[in-house]
């Protein structure tokens, strides 16, 4: 059977053949001992710094009190180390509203991103492995839907939900998050490549039901794809701003994105209390779960890719 060879093995192959005539005396470069390229290393370094500087800024400034935030250089520590005080203040400010926002966000991610992934996996698998009338039409619609940004649909969705009395409830955020055309498309391509039709036919021959075939045979093969879609939808839901902005008015249902913005806006209000130190600390706390999710899930993601490459 033909399993798609991963890009890692192909590129190694290619570089090996290319390198052989030039570097006869030395051992050919491999994945463990890649060829060095000064320019590429420099470019990567610049990108790395560019990516990490805002993060470093965030970590450094989360340790400052509001006065020292204004009175010191942004990229170095200054004054009293106030990280713990800031964290305590962040989670207790306004009767612990930050924790409520955190819980809301977790709810939206679990229900929204989890549901979106589930639907994408089921739909993608069905589209890849079953033939039915209208499949081409579904394909066209999904491809079209990928091109429509969610922002463009937010206001019509709001008017519709408003009629149904769903605005200002968690459903208004969860239901639109369940739809991920890109996730569906990704699962579809992934499923048609990763699951050999012969394998499904063999399972059917042995008398397995469609559900059993899906759960026992297809689902494990789809692992890396599922993790990828889950990561995408998780990030999208965690960072979702515009949809909840339109849908929610009650701060008790805010996700973190809206809550942080509300805190930031306080500084621009007559009589409002400026709490920049809390906005910064809260931002740091807000990205931690996403960073963790990436680090943890990336392991599965990579192992999934590697597992695919050795099956011949």
């Amino acid at each position: 059977m033909t399993i798609p060879s991963t890009s890692t093995s192909t590129s190694t192959e290619r570089s090996r053949t290319a390198a052989r005539p030039m570097m006869r005396s030395r051992r050919p470069p491999s994945v463990d001992r890649p060829r060095r390229n000064v320019i590429l290393t420099l470019v990567t370094g610049v990108v790395l710094v560019y990516t990490l500087v805002p993060l470093a800024w965030l970590v450094i400034n989360a340790t400052k009190t509001q006065p020292s935030l204004f009175g010191s250089f942004g990229l170095w520590f200054s004054g009293h180390f106030a990280l713990w005080d800031n964290i305590v203040q962040t989670v207790t400010y306004d009767h612990g509203i930050f924790l409520r926002w955190l819980l809301n966000t977790v709810l939206y991610v679990v229900a929204g991103a989890g549901g979106a992934t589930l639907l994408a996996v089921l739909g993608g698998y069905a589209l890849a492995k079953f033939s039915f009338p209208g499949k081409r039409a579904v394909f066209a619609i999904v491809i079209g839907a990928v091109a429509v940004p969610g922002t463009a649909l937010a206001v019509p969705t709001f008017l519709m939900f408003s009629r149904m009395g769903l605005t200002n409830t968690p459903w208004a955020v969860i239901i639109p998050s369940l739809i991920s055309p890109f996730g569906l498309y990704l699962m579809w391509t992934f499923a048609s490549e990763a699951i050999p039709t012969e394998l499904l036919e063999a399972a059917r021959m042995d008398g397995a039901s469609e559900l059993r075939t899906f759960v026992k045979i297809s689902l494990p093969l789809l692992g890396p794809g599922i993790v990828t879609v889950l990561l995408f939808t998780m990030v999208a839901t965690w960072n979702n701003y515009f949809l909840p902005l339109i849908m929610l008015k009650d701060p008790t249902w805010y996700p973190l994105t809206l809550g942080l913005n509300a805190w930031n806006a306080q500084a621009a209000t007559a009589g409002g209390e400026a709490i920049f130190n809390l906005v910064i600390t809260a931002s740091l706390l807000t990205i931690l779960p996403l960073v963790t999710a990436f680090l943890v899930l990336q392991r599965f993601w990579q192992s999934g890719l590697a597992a695919g490459s050795v099956k011949e």
Partner: protein
């Protein structure tokens, strides 16, 4: 008991005509409870609405309202007020427009800034409060805010706070370089030059283009760039007042005397604290923000009257400030009105003053306790003396556009260019006028025709 109260109220209503002003002023004194003051017949209806109870939703971002709501609920146990911060300024207006368009989820009370009120009032989104007896509050509020909530014969909100302008300045910076506090805009320009020459990192003010500030400056200079009569609108951002502002400010821009920092940013708070932004020409609500956001400036700031266009003048204008309004779609308008009356002209006013807000009620602005209060942050200065004086000197006759929210949102695309490129302020104002005219005509107004 109930019958007695009712009879008393009806009898009171008969006297209302003659006593309106006196009673209204009395009810705004803070100690007087508005629900029990028999000012008009509609108070009777208000009283019963308060006794029957009910639930209203209030959209507001003003922080002092939290305490007002708590007090109100304690006073009227059957009433529940759901106070929701649905966004600040423009964000909330968008939400309000959306809710009104959708026909559901509209709050019973909304905080609306004075500049935005005509847009909602003329758009037919707000209830005319005269049917609840709001006309009896004539004289309760200072002229600027009161004029701002009136459209034709209708009253579309009650003034919650006001922002008569004054010159907030960092005294330690002025002392350090021996610069006199400017009393005219010419002196202001000279002070700006001296200060920046003495310390190149210091600026007299920050500005990157702010529609609210620009219109307030034009207002003080005697400009009337907007004249609104029903749906007939005239826009002339080249009148004498607008030109006076543009000419002065162009000099400050050309000589690079304005810090390129946007108001309300973290850099701004930083500059106000470390002396690199030496003055703020801003509304009277600023002290609370300085105290909470610029701890480093404690003891350094003072308040002086707004610089004048002609020496010896006293003209001022309003900057910012909000009203509480009742959307037409509210199903509980009477109760909503009772709440805003309590918050804006009743016991709520004193609560809000204690919380640091600057009132719009004449009686409070003139009360000795208010005027004589000393502020530690301002080195013991009786700041309210200057600010209350400014409230009385606001130039009359100013009007905002019935689509000012839109106009202000494109300010930076037009006038804002003057701050960063070779465009002059006058060209920018012309461009701003053109896009406002086009938008107004598109919206069905008759603008400059």
């Amino acid at each position: 008991m109930r019958g007695f109260t009712h009879r008393r109220l009806v009898r009171g209503a008969a006297l209302a005509g003659a006593l309106t002003i006196a009673l209204a002023a009395c009810s705004s004194g803070g100690s007087g409870a508005p629900g029990t003051t028999p000012s008009t017949a509609s108070s009777a209806a208000g009283q019963s609405a308060l006794e029957q109870g009910g639930k209203i939703t209030v959209w507001a971002w003003e922080p002092t309202l939290k305490k007002v709501v708590a007090d109100f609920e304690a006073k009227y146990p059957k009433v529940t007020v759901d106070l929701v911060n649905a966004g600040t300024g423009n964000a909330q207006y968008t939400a309000l427009q959306n809710a009104i368009a959708a026909g559901s989820g509209v709050p019973d009370v909304a905080q609306v800034e004075y500049y935005a009120l005509p847009q909602f009032a003329i758009g037919g989104s707000l209830a005319d409060l005269t049917s609840f007896g709001a006309a009896s509050l004539d004289g309760t509020f200072t002229p600027g805010p009161w004029a701002s909530v009136k459209q034709g014969n209708g009253i579309y909100g009650l003034p919650m706070d006001s922002g008569p302008m004054a010159l907030f300045y960092n005294k330690s910076v002025f002392d350090k370089y021996g610069i006199a506090v400017p009393t005219t805009w010419d002196e202001y320009l000279t002070a700006a030059q001296k200060l920046h020459a003495a310390d190149p990192s210091a600026y007299i003010a920050n500005d990157t283009g702010d529609a609210g500030f620009a219109t307030s400056m034009i207002w003080q200079a005697g400009g009337h760039p907007y004249t609104v009569d029903g749906t007939n609108v005239k826009i002339n951002l080249a009148d004498a007042g607008s030109t006076a502002f543009a000419t002065l400010w162009q000099k400050l821009i050309d000589q690079k005397l304005l810090a390129p920092i946007s108001s309300w940013s973290d850099q701004w708070y930083q500059g106000l604290g470390n002396g690199t932004i030496a003055t703020l020409t801003i509304g009277a609500w600023m002290p609370a923000n300085l105290e909470s956001g610029v701890a480093a400036g404690k003891g350094q700031w003072r308040v002086a009257p707004m610089p004048q266009w002609t020496a010896g003048g006293t003209a001022t204008s309003e900057n910012g400030g909000s009203s509480l309004a009742v959307p037409k779609a509210s199903k509980n308008q009477q109760l909503a009105y009772d709440f805003i009356k309590y918050a804006d002209a009743g016991a709520g006013v004193q609560t809000r003053i204690d919380g640091g807000a600057f009132p719009a009620t004449t009686a409070d602005l003139q009360s000795a306790a208010f005027v004589n209060k000393t502020f530690d942050y301002f080195g013991g200065q009786k700041v309210n003396e200057v600010l209350a004086k400014s409230a009385a000197d606001v130039v009359k006759g100013w009007q905002y556009l019935p689509f000012q929210v839109y106009a202000n949102s494109v300010f930076n695309d037009t006038v804002g260019k003057a701050y960063v490129s070779g465009t002059t302020l006058q060209q920018g104002l012309k461009a701003w006028q053109d896009s406002s005219v086009t938008y107004g005509n598109d919206q069905g107004f008759t603008v400059n025709k």
